[in-house]
């Protein structure tokens, strides 16, 4: 478990804090702390960085006593990772209840039945289990890249995964449950969803998503179950199909929901193992056998209220039948999907930029010339949107606004959210551009008899636009890339499409290249056009550079 080492590192940092250390040093220590805890102790790399930081800290404080402290700590850190052999297992704690999730009582700690299963299995094998946080979508790729030894995360065997890795025998049998809003009387089975063309949400990259995709349902992938059930509650989708453990944890107690039909599709949770680790597979299988028989698993599942008689099929039997889903892949379909996602990306980028460019004007004017209250409002707006991550803002808009009755679809939320965010940046571009125009230009205009509006429109604005255009182009390209944050609210734009398709094919490289080509094909013409426009506006100054003796 990572906790003791984390505490050790904390202590080390606390010890060092009273000394005068540059701010950056502390930041890098906590970065490394994070990094260190996230990867396996077998990885020398993180240790090397720790050593390096300690050395840096030491050379900076230059006190002989501190050297001893650091030396002792280093020895302690090293010792803590030795001793019992470690079985590192990957799991995604974000929205991962009841599998692996952040302990509400102690946010520094993770809990979940999968952790207990992993602990039990490791103990049975005479090892110590250690959780490595990872991303659910890319969990197979991470396993193959040796970020951890095995996967314990409610992991289903599927035909496409079987091509990449091997599985242990199942330790839990789950079924899928369809959930709808209480007021919905139409939907009583998955078939009803197809017949009425209702949208079904589910977790990305799981058995349910494969089922829905292969059967060509109108479905939406979600990065975590919370988002799916929230969207169901807010009416953005009509039904959610989820493994029963998640359904139990997130939906059953919600009075807004009801079950639609009985559970179906018997699936299994297994341990994901790298292909070459057949020995490990055997050891894990025999450990699972023992733990199923001696009731250890039953105890854990009962504790988490997940036990049903269904599980009795597992104990003592060697060949349990369960359904295996498959993810088909077709390059033409994939390219079509990417093109569709690219279209959404373009829509997001252009829509958001339009909002930003327009809204930036009143913000800039209000900030520069408005009465005090307007000025304060504009400043608060600008600082808020610049000072908080756009991801957090999108999540806030998507899940926060429905609470007060405004429930926008995902793409519109992303469009408006990115627009509001970039408006703050554009306002600052405008402000700088207007301040770059000499105030004497106003005086000249006035002395020629122009009134303020005319002077602004004909004299000041064209000059400010010239200054503003390059940074605005820059912002637009940045915005183009920032559309990928819309993934957080399940908008199917290009980056989301990439992650999903790459997961299906495991061809991160090739698809990545294709997606980059898509992005470049969209952003290059833009930058090209913007540069032409800039040059057109700057033509005179360029000529001047060439003309000698002026």
């Amino acid at each position: 478990m990572p906790a003791p080492r984390r505490i050790l590192l904390r202590r080390m940092i606390m010890k060092l804090c009273p000394y005068k250390i540059k701010g950056g040093c502390i930041t890098s220590v906590s970065f490394v702390q994070d990094f260190y805890l996230n990867s396996s102790s077998q990885y020398l790399f993180s240790k090397v960085i720790i050593y390096y930081i300690c050395l840096k800290v030491f050379t900076e404080i230059k006190k002989p006593g501190s050297f001893l402290v650091i030396l002792c700590l280093l020895i302690l850190i090293n010792r803590s990772s030795e001793g019992q052999p470690v079985l590192t297992h990957g799991g995604d704690p974000s929205g991962g209840a009841p599998y692996v999730f952040t302990d509400p009582a102690n946010p520094n700690n993770y809990i979940g039945y999968e952790l207990e299963i992993a602990d039990a299995v490791a103990k049975q094998m005479g090892m110590r289990a250690e959780l490595i946080r990872t991303d659910w979508e890319a969990i197979v790729a991470s396993l193959k890249n040796k970020k951890f030894d095995v996967i314990f995360d409610g992991f289903e065997p599927t035909a496409d995964r079987a091509r990449e890795i091997i599985f242990s025998k199942p330790y839990y049998l789950f079924r899928l449950q369809l959930t709808v809003r209480k007021d919905n009387k139409e939907i009583n089975s998955l078939e009803d969803c197809r017949r009425l063309n209702k949208s079904v949400g589910t977790l990305v990259n799981c058995a349910a998503s494969r089922l829905l995709e292969n059967e060509k349902y109108n479905w939406r992938p979600y990065a975590d179950p919370v988002g799916a059930y929230k969207d169901l509650e807010f009416g953005r989708i009509d039904a959610v199909l989820m493994d029963i453990p998640m359904e139990m944890f997130y939906a059953r107690s919600n009075p807004e929901f009801r079950k639609a039909g009985e559970p179906f599709h018997k699936g299994a949770y297994v341990v994901g193992i790298r292909k070459e680790d057949t020995l490990l597979q055997k050891r894990i299988n025999s450990a699972i056998d023992t733990l199923l028989r001696d009731g250890t698993f039953e105890k854990i599942f009962r504790k988490w209220d997940m036990w049903d008689d269904f599980q009795l099929q597992l104990a003592g039997k060697t060949d349990v039948h369960y359904e295996i889903t498959e993810k088909k892949f077709d390059w033409i379909e994939a390219l079509l999907k990417l093109a569709h996602a690219a279209g959404i990306t373009i829509l997001l980028a252009f829509g958001a930029m339009l909002i930003a460019v327009v809204l930036g004007i009143p913000l800039a004017v209000g900030q520069m010339y408005g009465p005090k209250t307007v000025r304060i409002f504009c400043n608060v707006y600008i600082e808020f949107f610049r000072g908080t991550p756009v991801l957090v803002q999108l999540l806030f808009l998507y899940f926060g606004l429905p609470v007060i009755g405004i429930s926008l679809p995902g793409w519109l939320t992303a469009l408006v959210g990115l627009g509001l965010n970039y408006a703050a940046y554009e306002s600052q571009v405008y402000r700088a551009a207007f301040q770059a125009v000499p105030s004497r230009q106003w005086d000249v205009s006035y002395s020629l008899g122009m009134k303020p509006m005319l002077a602004f429109r004909r004299i000041i604005l064209p000059q400010a636009v010239r200054t503003a255009l390059p940074p605005m182009t820059n912002d637009f390209v940045a915005l183009f890339k920032d559309t990928s944050t819309a993934f957080a609210i399940s908008v199917w734009e290009l980056a989301t499409a990439y992650r999903e398709l790459a997961n299906a094919t495991q061809s991160y490289l090739l698809l990545g290249a294709v997606v980059c080509v898509f992005y470049l094909a969209m952003s290059l013409p833009l930058t090209h056009y913007a540069r032409k426009l800039e040059n057109k506006l700057k033509r005179s100054s360029q000529k001047l550079e060439k003309a000698p003796g002026t």
Binding site: D443, S447, L537, S540, L544
Partner: protein, 244 residues
């Protein structure tokens, strides 16, 4: 006629202009001389109606401006400003417009003239200053002297009652300086009124009919040019002139 009566201007408690008074008839040229920071440019800005002042009055032609602060009679201020054309030390040509565009901007949009009329008038002016071949160039393609002439044309096309110039020769070599001087002389001979701020006595000699010596916001001495150069009355004027 231009008349300045007991002018005071204060900024943040500092007196920038202290009790400035003088008067000279139309069709004449006034040169304002003095050290940097003596209030020359502030006085010029006040004459143009572009800044406010605290006490006193300025009469240009038949309009008397009492320096009322912002929010006063806007229409009056617009009319007062229209009477003068100003050429700043750094010119401030509109960089996004051609020379011709700079000059016809105000006639087109303020006087609402037809474009062909404005262009004809502008080209006539440009021809007089020898810039008609550069009409389609942008300001930063011009030399300093050409820019100066373009800026003068831009002010003149609005037919101002008085033309105000701030340090018209500061960026010019002697030859170009002489060209501008000749240009201004021609303009004066047509009966126009000029106010020129300059630290160069040589530039003003033979051009200005009157001189005003300013020091620390005060109008130290005001008299006809020949009189002041030959026989300065105030000690400070004498001291200043002795540098030339």
């Amino acid at each position: 006629m231009i008349k300045v009566d007991s002018l005071y201007k204060r900024v943040n408690g500092t007196e920038i202009l202290k009790n400035v008074s003088f008067e000279f008839p139309a069709g004449k040229v006034l040169g304002i001389i003095g050290e940097s920071g003596s209030g020359k440019t502030s006085l010029l800005m006040s004459l143009s109606g572009l800044t406010h002042f605290n006490e006193g009055t300025i009469t240009v032609n038949s309009l008397t401006f009492n320096g009322e602060p912002a929010g006063g009679n806007k229409e009056f201020i617009w009319r007062f400003r229209r009477q003068s054309g100003i050429v700043f030390q750094h010119l401030y040509l509109f960089p996004h417009l051609t020379v011709l565009g700079n000059i016809i901007e105000a006639p087109l949009h303020v006087l609402k003239e037809k474009r062909s009329d404005s262009e004809a008038r502008a080209l006539e002016l440009l021809k007089k200053v020898g810039l008609h071949n550069s009409a389609d160039k942008y300001p930063d393609e011009l030399s300093g002297g050409e820019q100066q002439r373009a800026a003068i044309c831009r002010a003149l096309i609005m037919n101002p009652v008085v033309l105000l110039l701030d340090e018209p020769t500061s960026a010019l070599d002697p030859q170009r300086s002489a060209d501008i001087r000749q240009l201004l002389l021609d303009y004066v001979h047509q009966g126009h009124t000029l106010v020129i701020v300059s630290h160069s006595i040589n530039f003003l000699r033979g051009l200005a009919d009157y001189l005003l010596y300013m020091d620390e916001g005060e109008a130290v001495e005001f008299s006809e040019t020949k009189e002041m150069l030959a026989n300065p009355k105030d000690g400070r004027t004498k001291e200043f002139l002795s540098h030339f």
